[in-house]
């Protein structure tokens, strides 16, 4: 692979069915356009009071005009920042457009963060206004209000519990609308005039990225950034006004902003908000969106639920289910990718669609999905292929806040589970010497808010953005991501060691809950593995293997054997990939306890803290690299559910795994068979 090679996709021509975004260069202008052209079509829905309450584009426009006038009356001005905190609610989406109409900049904040966590973005972005969902968020803000001297006004959507608050700076959404009516009566053309002042180059939104180190950074995206990226994506997938999507991911996440706001305004499709976060799956089932995005975690959970629910089915039904699912695994992906498939297989697939795939998609609410995205992290190939094989056009997307999402997309018909696709329209990709992925395109952010030095670090002079991810472009022109660039290490024989890549491959097996790979500056790669209690426990139950505890189950040779097979499968896969063939796992052990955030082994977002684990379980690591060791003991502090601390004493077996000669003839040392 050549260093610093760039790969770019050709720009797509303008689509006739989408508005001219050079003319309608801000979202408020698009709102006007949509209200005019799609007036009665639904723009927004929300499951509320038992039904899907709906608002048409013209209703939304009227509402946003009132809202904007009201907020202007309350003092919101061009250039102000407006914090948005809450679950996906129509009124919060309208707040974005309202702010943009007045030339103010929305700053969406993660709604489930605690007060201390939201303090930084609010303080840093100097918000004067905050629009929040409910009492919970109001209370959060009130608790840090004295640290936010610039915050002047708080508007809340749901007045439950807030009614008796007497703070003069608290306003209900309804009250703001009334203010707006009064202002509009006096100045009917006010909002239109404000909208006309907006330009494509203005800052449209400042989402804060949760940096892995240091404080979050405010990513300033212009209208042009967001709209061009969203436009290109929409056109690439052929989205139209008749699509539907469910907005259930945090509004502060750039993905939601692009899918549920940017593309919705550009295409004029309807965005639906779930009733609340507990009912998402039910709401998904009712709504049946055509455009769907979810992080891999959700697809994993969904698949696990499917399999567990099927366990309870009658034997005949299970047989039918597995028969057709197996058939789908065989030919489903090819059929979806439009490759030639034997007639009989197609026929059988059609039957499967009638009996299993169709109903299954129906109960999951995915029947109508035309375009499904998964992004955020790598998805297990089995999981990915499962959804594709039953006919759901699920695709991987690689993106970042700094790109207004789209860096690469898997094009229809060219979907491989282990790549993240080809560069999105208008985007150029470059791989640096050390393997880091860089990109450039219309969505590239203006700068980090109030952090020129950070901007400088992230952006090359020629406009490329460093992603911090290591990857390579494969022979099909698809980008493959291996790991965070800084986490990639070297084995002593010089081979690349990408722990996350290996761990992910392991975690794709349902029986493996968590894995920690070691190998940086070592002779070979070794791993700690956590089994998945539910999956393995289920297996044990079915095989009449009784066990007392997680620790007990983890020490069984039967379980080791299963995991060994998985590890060897991973090794086989690794051996086929030139860059990572050297980091096949030679030895592994099953940890006697689950890695736990309470014990400091995981971050709160469930990421492995490799260094901490390496220290804590040093005796185990030593044993992994001691060829003579067949088992190792550890005594470790653990925290129980109720917060009590205790000490865990355990002995783990150490297993060797078969490694393989790479297809590319990589220099992996052949392991001695056990």
């Amino acid at each position: 692979m050549g260093a610093s090679s760039t790969h770019a996709a050709a720009d797509l021509p303008r689509a006739a069915h989408l508005p001219d975004i050079d003319r309608y260069d801000t979202f408020p202008k698009l709102l006007r356009y949509n209200a005019e052209h799609l007036g009665d079509r639904p723009a927004m829905r929300e499951k509320d009071l038992g039904i899907w309450q709906s608002w048409s584009w013209s209703e939304v426009k009227t509402e946003i005009y009132r809202y904007a006038a009201g907020m202007a009356a309350l003092g919101l001005q061009r250039g102000d920042r407006v914090a948005i905190i809450g679950d996906n609610r129509p009124r919060l989406y309208w707040t974005m457009c309202m702010a943009q109409a007045l030339g103010a900049v929305p700053v969406p904040v993660y709604q489930d963060s605690v007060a201390a966590e939201i303090l930084f973005p609010l303080e840093h972005s100097e918000v004067r206004f905050a629009v929040v969902e409910d009492q919970e968020q109001v209370d959060k803000l009130l608790s840090i209000k004295d640290k936010l001297p610039k915050l002047e006004t708080i508007v809340y959507d749901d007045e439950r519990g807030v009614r008796d608050y007497t703070h003069p700076f608290l306003h209900s959404y309804e009250a703001v609308l009334e203010e707006g009516d009064a202002k509009l009566a006096a100045e009917p053309g006010f909002v239109d005039a404000e909208i006309d002042k907006g330009q494509g180059s203005d800052v449209s939104i400042i989402p804060y990225t949760s940096g892995t180190t240091g404080n979050p950074k405010g990513v300033m995206l212009s209208f042009s950034n967001v709209m061009k990226a969203a436009y290109a994506g929409a056109q690439f997938e052929g989205l139209t006004a008749s699509d539907d999507c469910l907005a259930y991911l945090p509004m502060a996440w750039i993905g939601d902003h692009i899918f549920s706001y940017g593309q919705a305004y550009i295409c004029g499709f309807c965005v639906a908000c779930p009733e609340n976060s507990d009912t998402v799956l039910t709401d998904l089932r009712e709504l049946g969106p055509t455009y769907f995005f979810a992080p891999p975690r959700i697809f994993e959970n969904l698949l696990t639920t499917v399999m567990i629910r099927m366990e309870d089915a009658s034997a005949i039904k299970r047989r039918i289910f597995h028969y057709f699912i197996d058939h789908a695994q065989k030919v489903g992906v090819d059929i979806l990718n439009g490759r030639p498939t034997p007639f009989l297989d197609r026929l059988k697939y059609r039957l499967g669609e009638l009996l299993i795939y169709g109903p299954l998609k129906n109960v999951l609410g995915l029947t109508r999905v035309r375009v499904g995205y998964t992004a955020g992290e790598a998805i297990g190939p089995d999981i990915f292929d499962f959804y594709r094989s039953i006919g759901i056009n699920l695709k991987q997307l690689y993106g970042s806040t700094e790109a207004a999402v789209f860096v690469t997309i898997q094009p229809d018909g060219e979907v491989y589970p282990d790549t993240v696709g080809t560069p999105a329209p208008g985007v150029e990709i470059k791989i640096a010497e050390d393997g880091e992925v860089l990109f450039r395109g219309p969505g590239v952010f203006l700068e980090y808010f109030k952090s020129p030095e950070a901007t400088e670090k992230a952006k090359t002079p020629d406009g490329f953005v460093l992603t911090g991810d290591a990857g390579f472009i494969d022979e099909n022109g698809h980008l493959r991501i291996i790991d965070r660039a800084k986490d990639v290490g070297k084995l002593t024989h010089g081979g690349l060691f990408a722990p996350k890549y290996i761990e992910n491959k392991l975690k794709f097996f349902p029986n493996i809950k968590e894995a920690v790979a070691f190998g940086h500056e070592r002779d070979y790669c070794a791993a700690f593995i956590n089994i998945d209690l539910e999956a393995v426990g289920n297996w044990a139950e079915r095989n009449n293997l009784s066990y007392a505890s997680y620790q007990d189950l983890s020490s069984r040779r039967e379980v080791y054997d299963i995991v060994k097979a998985h590890v060897e499968q991973v090794n086989r896969d690794l051996s086929k990939e030139e860059m990572v063939a050297g980091s096949q796992i030679k030895r592994f052990l099953l940890l006697p306890k689950m890695l736990d955030a309470d014990d400091g082994e995981l971050t709160r977002t469930s990421k492995v803290r490799r260094g901490f684990i390496a220290d804590k379980y040093k005796p185990l690591i030593d044993a992994l690299y001691d060829p003579a060791a067949r088992e190792a003991s550890i005594s470790s502090e653990i925290t129980f559910e109720d917060g009590r601390k205790g000490v865990l004493e355990a002995t783990c077996l150490i297993y060797d795994a078969e490694t393989y000669e790479g297809a590319a003839g990589a220099a992996a040392p052949k392991a001695a068979a056990e």
Partner: protein, 359 residues
């Protein structure tokens, strides 16, 4: 399995509260009704129309009536036969005394209304009593009413035999009642009543009145304390229930047996209809139909099945077996599925909706 509900969401209460909110169900029910109207009369044999569909449909109406009273309102009645008789006799009286131009449904509905008023009278004790006490009270209706219609010759226009023939009446020149009417005409005539009455029943049970009935059934004290008037609610149930039974009784006499006679409405009939709703499903409109079909068809099946295996059973043996099977079926349903066939149907439907998941 056949349901594709994703995307069929509701944006208004009107849509969410329609009779059949799931489009798939709507299609199915409309198809069944259309087939019943247009296909069945054409392809059905005389035997099927006259000896099976006709009585099953008529008994369905009676079961529907009893289900309103017992299944929805929780008031057990053993007087169904009496109320049916009331409908039959009064219909006869009206039909034979009304002017020529009056349409045939007038006496039928008149019979129903008469039964309804009788029902109200015998429902009066329900204010004070419930459960088996009420069952005894309704037995009084059963025995008293049958005696009354036998002993008061006014009802049968002082006919000598006391068992007059059903008057032949026409719609658009077709005979729809009496012995001379064609099975097809009778079938369609009865079917019209069935469709309308079933629709009305479904509407009632999903409205305030239906909820009041169920509230009284489930927890009468709580119902009273939220402002439901117990007597008024129960009497409405008695009236409507008896109306349905009365119409059924009239149709039974006019279209099925073609005579007006007390033996058609004896206590056995009351039990038969009660069994229909137990087996079909208490508190279910659909169940009334299932139950009527099951209870009516079972004896026919019992008569024929041994023959298919080359067994020849004496008629009295079959009738004893019939009793035993009924008794066992009732106990079976009460224990295994107290909500009857309707519940089984519902479970099957849920299974299909959740397919391939088991639950």
């Amino acid at each position: 399995m056949f349901y594709r509900e994703a995307g069929q969401f509701k944006t208004s209460y009107a849509a969410d509260q329609q009779l059949l909110p799931i489009p798939m169900d709507r299609v199915f029910v409309i198809a069944v009704v259309l087939i019943a109207i247009f296909v069945v009369p054409v392809v059905g044999s005389q035997y099927w129309l006259e000896s099976i569909l006709l009585p099953v449909l008529i008994l369905s109406i009676a079961a529907l009536g009893l289900n309103i009273l017992t299944g929805y309102c929780g008031q057990l009645s053993l007087g169904t036969g009496g109320f049916m008789a009331a409908g039959a006799y009064m219909s006869y009286k009206i039909a034979t005394n009304m002017p020529e131009f009056m349409p045939v449904w007038v006496p039928i509905l008149g019979g129903g209304l008469f039964a309804a008023s009788i029902g109200v009278i015998f429902g009066l004790p329900s204010l004070r009593i419930k459960g088996f006490y009420l069952a005894v009270a309704t037995l009084a209706a059963q025995f008293f009413l049958l005696w009354l219609f036998q002993k008061v010759p006014w009802f049968v226009n002082y006919s000598i035999s006391g068992v007059p023939s059903a008057p032949p009446e026409t719609i658009l020149g077709f005979y729809v009642t009496g012995a001379s009417a064609s099975p097809e005409a009778k079938y369609l005539f009865v079917l019209a009543f069935v469709i309308v009455l079933a629709l009305l029943a479904r509407n009632m049970v999903r409205s305030r009145i239906g909820r009041s009935w169920m509230a009284i059934r489930d927890m009468d004290i709580a119902a009273e304390l939220i402002g439901i008037k117990p007597l008024q609610t129960k009497l409405t149930a008695f009236a409507i229930s008896s109306f349905y039974c009365g119409v059924a009784g009239a149709l039974w006499s006019f279209c099925y047996i073609n005579t007006v006679e007390p033996t058609a409405f004896d206590i056995e009939r009351s039990f038969q209809v009660l069994f229909m709703i137990i087996v079909g499903g208490l508190g279910s409109v659909l169940g009334s139909f299932f139950g009527a079909a099951f209870i009516f068809l079972l004896p026919i099946l019992l008569n024929n099945v041994p023959g298919w295996f080359g067994l020849q059973l004496a008629t009295d043996v079959v009738s004893h077996l019939e009793f035993m099977v009924f008794g066992a079926a009732i106990i079976f349903f009460l224990i295994v599925e107290p909500h009857g066939l309707a519940r089984l149907w519902q479970i099957a439907k849920e299974k299909l909706r959740l397919w391939p998941f088991p639950h």
